[in-house]
Symmetry: C2
Subunit: 211 residues, 2 copies
DNA sequence: TAGATTGTTAATCGATTAACAATC
DNA sequence: TAGATTGTTAATCGATTAACAATC
């Protein structure tokens, strides 16, 4: 139960990371952890961890710490990972195909229903079980099916058009892998993965290190 | 010519974005831009843009603005994009193959020399011209060849081992796509792309929107 | 010269860290 | 009860924004 103040982006970015470590702890059979121990594990300060978690509620117990499994469930719920998301991916090239698979099989609850493509050689095929449809069918498909998230993996120059069609078609989230910062209407969530930007930052830090 | 104060991560994250927009402006034949106009384009405040750029030098001209092409070159140089980087990718699965291609062909100067894999069916093949080698050869390869950046695209449980081999082999940067936060020795730059974390943040914002 | 816009300092805002009272 | 550790307030730090003098 979130308090009604807006949570900062910085906090939200840390939650999936906390969750990953909690999952590992569960796998290792650890059932309680203090903010201090969790700090050593994650690299965030104990103070920040407590501060972050208390945005959402008091999940710990004084003198004891946090129950690993309970905290994992709480964070999962906060992130909305206790539901299912239907997704479509647009742009079934090399990277698109790989991402469709990755997303579908590595993340519980995120279901990639199909891939939309313009290349006639791919249309009609199945890629690891995920059907490839004609991009022309996208708008109709969205009319007939409820889709939560659209993944954009096209070229830069069609990205905005694709995003518009997805948003008009009723998706509530866009996961964008193109180099374009697409704009989405209010009420649609947007997450960009700019791979080249990431690589370019890496280049910077390499140079900085060697000075 | 960077001043000798450490530049904050927030600034470095914005530079590739500035550069992308400058590239677009160049393609559109625009040759000067003011911080105010650039603000409208990028969504960052004019003040922040000027502040950021002045960490590295005075690239503008009072009363005029910034020369688009010159600024693009400056930022490229700051990011270290005026050199070549030799890369190897470890883990040539679905996503690894796609990333090797993407990196090799979408980014000038980032050359993926080869892919290392354990799957015997892939070893010896070429994927879009990039040779797949036996993972067993990685250590020797790094002894004989100078490699700048290692891309890790294996499963989570071998990620740290791979990272260690790459770092001992002399790479100066790690681009990590696994869900593990690998640790690298001081002097090696690390950039993580946690795809699942990104997706999980998206899920959060979708929920937040619909409340 | 007048107008525009930078470079840079100062003010504000927000996020992180420290401290400690509450409490298990 | 004593010890440990949270939840939360206060202090600090850093990043963003505003303001304006410098200057093209």
């Amino acid at each position: 139960m979130p308090k009604n103040t807006q949570i900062s982006k910085a906090v939200i970015k840390r939650l999936p990371r906390y969750r990953r470590y909690l999952k590992e702890l569960m796998a290792d059979g650890v059932d309680k952890i203090s903010s201090k121990e969790f700090s050593q594990l994650t690299g965030y300060t104990a103070s920040q961890i407590r501060q972050d978690l208390n945005n959402f509620g008091g999940f710990g117990q004084q003198g004891y710490g946090y129950n690993v499994e309970a905290l994992f469930e709480e964070i999962s719920s906060i992130l909305g990972l206790d539901r299912e998301y239907k997704m479509v991916l647009v742009g079934g090239g090399n990277l698109g195909q790989a991402l469709a698979n990755y997303t579908h099989y590595s993340n519980m609850g995120f279901i990639v229903e199909c891939i939309f493509e313009v290349n006639p050689r791919l249309i009609g095929m199945r890629i690891n079980g995920i059907k490839v449809r004609d991009y022309e069918e996208l708008v109709d498909y969205l009319k007939e099916n409820s889709v939560d998230i659209g993944i954009i993996c096209t070229t830069k120059n069609t990205a905005q058009e694709v995003s518009d069609k997805l948003c008009e078609g009723g998706v509530r989230g866009i996961w964008n892998f193109t180099a374009l910062d697409v704009s989405v209407p209010k009420g649609v969530a947007l997450e960009n993965v700019h791979l080249s930007d990431s690589l370019h930052s890496l280049a910077y830090y390499m140079m900085e290190n060697s000075q």
